[in-house]
């Protein structure tokens, strides 16, 4: 099926050094985020900015300056004891839409810069708000829906209790 030379050429393939650096960098970043932040930073850490720019659907996603292709993971580093004192997740978001886009959420509310809480809003440009939803032992699938004309996309949030990680996934319909 494969000659000895072909098998040898396969086995000669080595991972590039840059890959090792990327993996170790991801690891360092992971540890730094988990251990480097204090409780005073918890509120800020829970408020990682999710920046939406343009996607094929006129919206693309960035988290902390990193472009999102499919999934963002960010860390809720609250110690377990403090989770009881902080009843909500609060995630500041910025959405930049080229066309009129209706934004709504399945759970929680959108806190606007003026302090008003709404379940949905409509924008055709740049808008910022804080998505707040209650903590629980198990976070249900929280969904933010963005509807622009006939195109609909979603940001789904799930929470991993074991790792204190919130996972945001972008889906299109």
């Amino acid at each position: 099926m494969f000659s000895n030379e072909e098998l040898q050429s396969y086995r000669d393939i080595k991972a590039p050094e840059e890959l090792y650096e990327k993996v170790i960098q991801s690891s360092s970043s992971h540890k730094r985020r988990l251990h480097g932040l204090t409780y005073a930073a918890v509120t800020i850490a829970a408020c990682f900015v999710i920046v939406f720019t343009r996607t094929p659907n006129d919206i693309s996603v960035n988290v902390n300056g990193q472009e999102l292709h499919k999934t963002i993971q960010f860390y809720d580093i609250s110690p377990a004891s403090d989770m009881r004192t902080s009843p909500v997740f609060s995630i500041p978001m910025e959405i930049d839409a080229e066309h009129e886009t209706k934004i709504s959420v399945s759970h929680g509310v959108l806190i606007l810069p003026d302090g008003n809480a709404v379940m949905e809003l409509t924008t055709d440009g740049n808008t910022t708000f804080c998505w707040e939803f209650p903590r629980g032992d198990e976070l249900p699938l929280c969904r933010l829906k963005m509807q622009s004309g006939r195109k609909t996309s979603y940001i789904d949030l799930t929470y991993d209790n074991d790792t204190n990680i919130i996972i945001a996934t972008k889906n299109k319909q």
Binding site: M1, F2, E5, E6, L7, S9, Y10, R11, D12, I13, K14, A15, P16, E17, E18, L19, Y20, K22, V23, I24, S26, S27, H30, Q73, D160, D162, T163, I165
Partner: protein, 161 residues
């Protein structure tokens, strides 16, 4: 049964143990250096964030391969018009002539995704059938069937060349 578990994964040691293997498998699956690197990196990110419990090293190895393969399948699905970027474009690799990967790489890329994975793990990587089945998360009988079918298709491809 002893539990092979580390509360904080030793990424450096794990990468040194499996990095080349995972990259090789991902590259053979995707034929694209950048995508292969992404798949391996994503697998390690999942390894770090999930900190899975493993019963032994074989379990850990199979888990990493399965996660890497799943990322590869996702990428293949996303990039239906996947471009073929020979490994020679990557700076870390010597000349194409020295490696001679192009022929077998093109050959296995004419295989459907389903059969390519098993051919890579069993025929190129040299895994046992059981090890291959574990890595792909399929039964031994399913692995045997896929291998048999994959070999037949590969043979047809060879004859057409």
């Amino acid at each position: 049964m002893s539990l092979f578990h580390r509360s904080k994964p030793d990424i450096d040691a794990t990468y040194k143990k499996y990095g080349d293997l995972l990259y090789r498998v991902a590259f053979a699956q995707l034929a694209n250096d950048a995508d292969a690197q992404d798949a391996v990196q994503d697998a390690f990110i999942k390894y770090m964030t999930k900190s899975p419990h493993f019963t032994d090293e074989a379990h850990e190895k199979a888990w990493l391969i399965r996660v890497t393969m799943n990322h590869c399948h996702d990428m293949t699905r996303r990039n239906k018009n996947h471009s073929f970027h020979p490994l020679s474009e990557a700076s870390h690799v010597e000349s194409e002539e020295q490696h001679g990967y192009r022929e077998w790489l093109e050959r296995i890329h004419r295989l459907p995704d389903l059969y390519r994975s098993i051919i890579i793990l069993h025929c190129l990587e040299g895994f046992s059938l059981q090890e291959t089945a574990d890595s792909l998360g399929i039964s031994l009988s399913a692995a045997k069937m896929r291998l048999s079918r994959g070999r037949n298709i590969l043979e047809q491809i060879r004859q057409e060349e």
